[in-house]
Symmetry: C2
Subunit: 286 residues, 2 copies
């Protein structure tokens, strides 16, 4: 994957446009990333394999896991609130936002969906979707129909348990956001979000030691943290003035990781605790 660092989150685009100064040929064409969609292991497989040991049969099953794959253009809904969906899906490529719009137009972004994350939890377990999910960039989504999901639980218990555990992570991340919005100040929330993004992007190989490409506008960050975009700008300035972060273009670099973590009360543990309890595996498979 030899791309520079313009849009590091687009994993598979072969000819990624370099810097933002360069002229780019076509804007919203989807054709670029079609063929090498997911190289040897998908993001989901990587996430699972990092947490539990998978048998060759498991890996084979994961390779043929998806029922259908579709492309979603940037800024288009993958899931729309109120509609019915009867399959679980996985975001295999690109990024997306899960959000809800209230009657009066206020919007709350619940979380950012990264490659390898599930889409449709908890939506697909309800009769109609509770939230909308919109693609931040061109995205690739694959679906898993329920029969296959249950087959999975029956025949590949380790994968089933791991997926169970991924759902737990999802719930835990919502809970962490409740804590953040409920109790922390604007700087703390922003610092926490930056560290969360850095950590999650590192896990799937889309961030280096201390910098990453910020995929969100300041207004989106505000909608995510219960603040206004204007105030996000002021808060960023504060972080910059304190020498904690540097923003160059759309690349955000964390200059003092320890200080930022201390400010945010960020416990890396809360993401590294995201390892599966061994108790989930009372018996080893053959």
């Amino acid at each position: 994957m030899p791309q520079p660092h313009d849009h590091p989150y687009i994993v598979a685009r072969p000819a990624a446009p370099a810097a933002e100064t360069e002229p780019r040929g076509r804007r919203r064409g989807l054709q670029a990333q079609t063929n090498p969609v997911m190289s040897p292991a998908s993001a989901l497989t990587r996430k699972l394999a990092a947490r539990t040991s998978l048998s060759p049969a498991d890996l084979e099953f994961l390779d043929a896991l998806y029922d259908e794959t579709r492309l979603v253009g940037a800024n288009r809904d993958i899931i729309t609130e109120g509609y019915k969906y009867d399959a679980l899906a996985v975001l295999r490529h690109g990024m997306a936002l899960r959000y809800r719009v209230l009657r009066d137009g206020r919007r709350q972004i619940l979380n950012i969906v990264l490659p390898g994350d599930f889409i449709g939890f908890p939506a697909c377990f309800f009769d109609t979707a509770l939230y909308s999910i919109t693609a931040l960039s061109d995205a690739v989504v694959s679906s898993i129909r329920f029969p296959r999901l249950f087959q999975l639980f029956g025949e590949h218990p380790r994968i089933g348990a791991a997926i169970f555990w991924l759902f737990s992570c999802e719930a835990a991340m919502y809970a962490e956001r409740v804590i953040g919005i409920g109790q922390r100040s604007a700087v703390e929330r922003l610092a926490h979000l930056l560290l969360e993004l850095l950590t999650r992007l590192q896990i799937i190989g889309l961030a280096d030691e201390n910098s990453f490409h910020m995929p969100l506008t300041q207004e989106q960050i505000g909608d995510m943290l219960g603040l206004t975009g204007v105030h996000i700008s002021r808060t960023f300035r504060q972080l910059r003035n304190d020498g904690l972060v540097v923003i160059a273009g759309q690349v955000l670099k964390i200059k003092d990781l320890r200080a930022l973590a201390a400010l945010a009360d960020f416990e890396r543990t809360y993401l590294s605790h995201f390892r599966m309890s061994e108790a989930l595996f009372p018996e080893e498979p053959g």
Copy 2:
């Protein structure tokens, strides 16, 4: 259980307390559920049966579901953050709070756990618990060890799917709280909480048409909504002045349900949407 009316929200107390202002013989709504503590069906079984049809074998399995049962006194932790737990548990009796305390002492209450709710999701799927759960009143907790849980998924797929769905509800409730704290004002949040409590208590038969016993102090409500207890007091006054609610003793009565729901932008659907998708059952069991 020999104490007087000090903790009236303890479900199973035979002599339900009266409101302190008016000497009426029985409390409204609390009367019905007094003696049949957990009789014929547990709260969990009732919740499941309301959503899916259970075979006699399923019911029999549910009756013998629990591995051990223990009592927890009021104000004692059922689960403590940072410790390891290797079983899923169900709150069978009493109420509890799930919360996290930050370094500087701020506390965020994530939700209130009612009879029939799971304890230990997502805690038990991590190596150490992410949050603490403390008993509001004397409580009865039963645990389900993992082997039995997996047995359940293998041998009683309908129950397994239903439990899956309950976890989805849990995640969705966290997400709703994010939306509430992130976007709504103090009155809206409080109104929403009151309606959520009313609805959830009604489902398990602990509330009547428009009133219920408020199990939380105002400071606890504040910690739940990201506000201070003082401001909860002011907000309650506003709701009282507007003729929306009445508080007598610890019984909260909603006088104008429609107006309160409109104020809170409360969609009853968001709880009634909590019915399981039929898609979860591609095939009927025998």
